[in-house]
């Protein structure tokens, strides 16, 4: 029997500067550091100067390192671990 268990995931919430390069910086970081990134939701805030992002990421020992690397990005203003948001939030968005 193949192992069908999904790897454990968790959610990071970011507040970022809303400009064209911010998304590249964030996704580029995940690619470069070989962190898993399963899903992204990004919505501009009311003032359009900032956006909020939810990232569905692997819940593994690299999580803390991932958060610290995200915090170093100039365009990332805040990083919060949102263990309260389940993977179901993302599956509900499927169309």
């Amino acid at each position: 029997m193949p192992d069908t268990k999904q790897p454990a995931t968790t959610v990071l919430e970011l507040r970022v500067r809303n400009h064209p390069g911010a998304m590249s910086h964030i996704t580029g970081l995940f690619a470069r550091r070989a962190f898993n990134l399963e899903a992204i939701v990004c919505v501009p805030e009311a003032d359009h100067a900032t956006s909020r992002m939810l990232l569905l990421v692997a819940d593994d020992p690299k999580l803390e390192q991932m958060q610290r690397q995200l915090e170093k990005l100039h365009d990332v203003l805040e990083v919060r671990h949102r263990a309260d948001i389940g993977v179901g939030y993302f599956s509900a968005l499927r169309w």
């Binding site: 390069g21 580029g28 470069r32 803390e64 390192q65 610290r68 170093k72």
Partner: protein, 562 residues
């Protein structure tokens, strides 16, 4: 007053205190070069943009302040990339300014268009694409602040030509970008660190380039003596302790002393300061300092626990933290431990033939060189065997006197970095120790050196090979020498003369050290080609991927081959 984007950029750089920058003009950046014409900023015209990048790095590594390099769009920008990536890995403050095709042409595959923003994104601390004059006024000061604050690094600023040509009335200028202070470690953290060190019986300091970056070299020396702890340095931290300091155990890791690597295995507390547990330093990380509790202080919180979990992880500025620590920490003595360090150091000296018999053996050569140069000489290297021989044998006694490409390991670094160092420290002697492989990677900068007539000596350790590749093929690839030998001999002295410089070739049979001394004594730039044996290897050496205690010494290797 009416300004263009180009004159705004020039004014912002002047206000930033930039008086020298390096680059090469081209189509998209012409408006800025027009603005430079007749300005007080000195522009150094290099012969390749990578040379401009490393020249700026040389200035930044000597001063600790952000330096500026310039390139036009397309190939100008791509040629800068290696120097930018190099600055990133060695945490060097650099502001790389590139011009871009006009915004109306971006995305059309225009002439000399390349996605500089996308290319520099993964190799900079931060990067910008400036879309308007308003953004330019914000971005330039911010670029300097980011490059110099916290852990230093390169910042790239890409400016489309239409922004350089745009006009605006400027009534008030933004404040120049300044380094932001790093929040200090908390008092309880300092207490915990003091307690850990006070309880140590076999403490060691593991010092990285961050110590020099923070201006904390003297504090680190004081701490070593205060708690009687032997100290090891990474390649990037050489010069933090004086060479003759009895607590200086030299460089750790792949080409560190075997005694040094063995001593680290016996330590019960390792205090890592501004070091990032690089694989060349730690060897197989699971077996690095297995008996030690590790205290790790770094200005970059993301370095804490990245490679090795620390018993005590502290994010903060090294100078400030060590100052607080020294006030709280009682002095200690560890005579037995210090004796053990001395014993291991004596047991594993750097092996080399007698100088009288082989004066041009690289270890002998580097030591003779040091004797011929003033104590404040700045030494740059390229990358390879010569770099490791300099690291092992040159007695560095102060920080910022050894400039080398540590993290990226870029051949071609040495010559342009030496030119930058000589510009930044005009009263000092600068020597670039290179190899016959490395020097060819940026040899065109001899023309820049000839323009500037700076007191830079370039020493080419010439074994007609890519020596460190040859060495690894000998030791680990069954002596199958694949693409490591150069088929034709290059007359480097003749090339130097072709650039208008003095060029000297040493003959091993004809008083080579006397000729070296006279070549160095004459004023102005010089290239000295020095034949060395291709079979000379850099030893000791930890086999790639092995634990550091498995260091192979020259003696062990000779016994294995006997």
């Amino acid at each position: 007053m009416q300004h263009t984007g180009a004159t705004i950029l020039r004014t912002l750089l002047e206000r930033q205190g930039i008086h020298t920058l390096a680059g090469i003009p081209g189509g998209a950046i012409l408006p800025f070069y027009d603005a430079l014409h007749g300005s007080g900023i000195r522009h150094i015209l290099t012969r390749h943009e990578q040379g401009a990048g490393f020249l700026a790095q040389g200035m930044a590594r000597v001063t600790g302040r952000a330096a500026v390099c310039l390139a036009t769009s397309g190939p100008g920008a791509t040629n800068l990339l290696t120097a930018i990536a190099d600055a990133r890995l060695d945490s060097i403050p650099l502001v790389a300014i590139t011009a871009q095709v006009p915004q109306a042409l971006i995305g059309t595959d225009a002439f000399q268009e390349v996605d500089t923003y996308g290319l520099t994104l993964p190799i900079t601390k931060h990067n910008f694409l400036v879309r308007s004059i308003e953004e330019l006024l914000e971005t330039i000061p911010l670029a300097f602040t980011l490059a110099e604050s916290g852990r230093p690094g390169p910042v790239a600023v890409d400016i489309p030509k239409d922004v350089l040509n745009a006009r605006a009335e400027i009534t008030a200028w933004p404040e120049p970008g300044r380094r932001r202070a790093t929040p200090p470690c908390t008092a309880p953290e300092i207490e915990a660190l003091a307690a850990l060190l006070a309880g140590a019986r076999r403490p060691m300091l593991y010092l990285g380039g961050g110590v020099i970056g923070a201006g904390a070299a003297e504090l680190a020396r004081t701490l070593a003596h205060h708690i009687d702890a032997p100290a090891v340095t990474t390649l990037m931290a050489l010069g933090t302790l004086t060479a003759d300091d009895p607590l200086n155990m030299g460089m750790l890791g792949m080409h560190g002393g075997k005694g040094t690597n063995l001593l680290m295995r016996e330590a019960d507390v390792i205090f890592a300061i501004g070091a990032r547990f690089d694989d060349r330093a730690t060897g197989k990380v699971a077996e690095f300092c297995p008996r030690a509790a590790i205290a790790h202080l770094d200005i970059d919180r993301a370095e804490l626990g990245k490679i090795r979990a620390a018993t005590l992880a502290l994010a903060g500025d090294a100078a400030e933290t060590l100052t607080c620590l020294l006030q709280r920490l009682p002095a200690q003595v560890h005579p037995a431990w210090r004796a053990r360090a001395a014993e291991l150091r004596a047991a594993y000296p750097l092996i080399h033939p007698a100088p009288a018999r082989e004066p041009l053996h690289p270890v002998n050569l580097i030591r003779s060189l040091a004797r011929l140069l003033p104590d404040d000489v700045i030494v740059t290297t390229d990358v390879g065997q010569h770099q490791m021989w300099v690291a092992q044998a040159f007695p560095f006694n102060r920080p910022r006197t050894f400039l080398t490409s540590g993290g990226l390991g870029t051949m071609g670094f040495g010559l342009p970095a030496a030119i930058g160092a000589a510009l930044a420290a005009p009263e000092r002697r600068v020597v670039c120790v290179s190899g016959d492989g490395s020097i060819l990677m940026n040899i065109q900068e001899l023309a820049t050196l000839a323009d500037l007539d700076l007191p830079v000596a370039v020493l080419v350790c010439n074994n007609a090979h890519l020596g460190l590749v040859r060495q690894q093929q000998e030791l680990f690839y069954g002596r199958r020498y694949s693409a490591s030998r150069f088929q034709s001999a290059t007359d480097f002295a003749a090339i130097a003369r072709g650039f208008g410089l003095r060029g000297v070739t040493l003959d091993p049979e004809d008083d080579p050290l006397g000729r070296l001394a006279s070549a160095l004594a004459a004023p102005g730039p010089v290239l000295i080609d020095i034949p060395i044996h291709e079979t000379a290897n850099v030893l000791p050496m930890v086999p790639p991927g092995a634990a550091n205690h498995l260091t192979i010494t020259a003696t062990e290797l000779a016994a294995a081959h006997a």
